[in-house]
Symmetry: C2
Subunit: 204 residues, 2 copies
């Protein structure tokens, strides 16, 4: 059985990444979601162990000290991290894993020689549209919106460090493009063992 | 307007490439087919200028001498070639172009510094299945089938020189995978101008 593939997906807060990822994972078999650890408080409806592992700062710090994270970063004043455990087991069983991490985490991951991943950036069509979406949530304070917009401007500078750019303008199109990237990466020739009789190669 | 992208697609004779390409091109907008030159005789239903430019050996030789080909090769005793003209005009107008060329031609193209393309190999699920398909055509002589199978075995050795491998087992799945590769390549981040305000980037 071949090893599962890693997909690193970053997007400025408010881009609609969560909605997109849920839809793509519902439509495409053989994909799973790496559950990150965070010290931020759960939003309404978020479930511990499913959306995130919600932990305290001291628990997070202990995990850092024990080297349990592939990457970790501080975003909007909260810690976020991806544990080795969250990806190892799934990849080993041939499942492709989506890592939903921010540009800092993705940058750390790209420099890690033990990890090979496809890096995908989902962007809003424009900063103005992002602002509209953030206000549309109705859950964010003015100062939070200002911080997120300011961070988005910085994050957009990192696009060229990514292999793929998906602009989330129309949702259905975004889902098609993201699914296509995953299907295409699965058809990468180097994923197939060299010299193996073609009839024994697993159909993509 | 951004430059169109080139997709080099190779497959052993009998793999079903022509059927697959026709379907993908019917379903995906913004794609066109580079019409190759060949010295082989037209098969029933093939149209000059659409399926191929059918030319004599001396005409072909003149084009070689004039440097009009990006690549050319001899396959099954016939000349095949892709002219610069066939791809330049379409790419310049932002259309993505599919080059249907054999492994020799693809290999030459990969070594050409003026040409950047995505290389895709479509393979039959097995040699046995390929033999079945070739016989199923009902148009090929025994000795032609033997030559094609022998060539297929050689061509399959080149898979690892390609970026993508699509195994044509079930037609609908093959069409999905090939379309996905094209959609994914269009979402490559380096296709977008660096530093441009995100709102001005053309939606993928």
């Amino acid at each position: 059985m071949s090893q599962g593939k890693l997909f690193v997906i970053s997007a400025p807060s408010g881009t609609g990444k969560t909605t997109v990822l849920k839809r793509v994972m519902a439509e495409l078999p053989g994909l799973s979601f790496s559950v990150s650890h965070t010290t931020r408080l759960p939003r309404p409806g978020e479930i511990d162990g499913k959306d995130y592992h919600f932990v305290s700062e001291s628990e997070f710090q202990t995990m850092i000290d024990q080297g349990l994270f592939v990457e970790h970063a501080v975003v909007h004043g909260n810690f976020y991290g991806t544990s080795w455990r969250a990806i190892d087991q799934q990849c080993a069983s041939g499942i492709d894993v989506i890592l939903d991490i921010d540009v800092q985490g993705a940058s750390i991951l790209r420099r890690s020689p033990q990890v090979t991943a496809s890096h995908i950036f989902i962007s809003p069509p424009s900063i103005a549209e992002l602002e509209k979406r953030l206000r549309g949530r109705g859950t964010e304070k003015e100062e939070t919106i200002a911080v997120r917009l300011s961070n988005a401007r910085i994050e957009l500078q990192a696009i060229n460090e990514y292999e793929y750019l998906v602009i989330n303008d129309r949702l259905e199109e975004t889902i098609t493009v993201l699914s296509s990237i995953i299907v295409a990466e699965r058809a990468r020739a180097h994923r197939f063992p060299s010299g193996q009789p073609i009839g024994e190669i697993v159909t993509v």
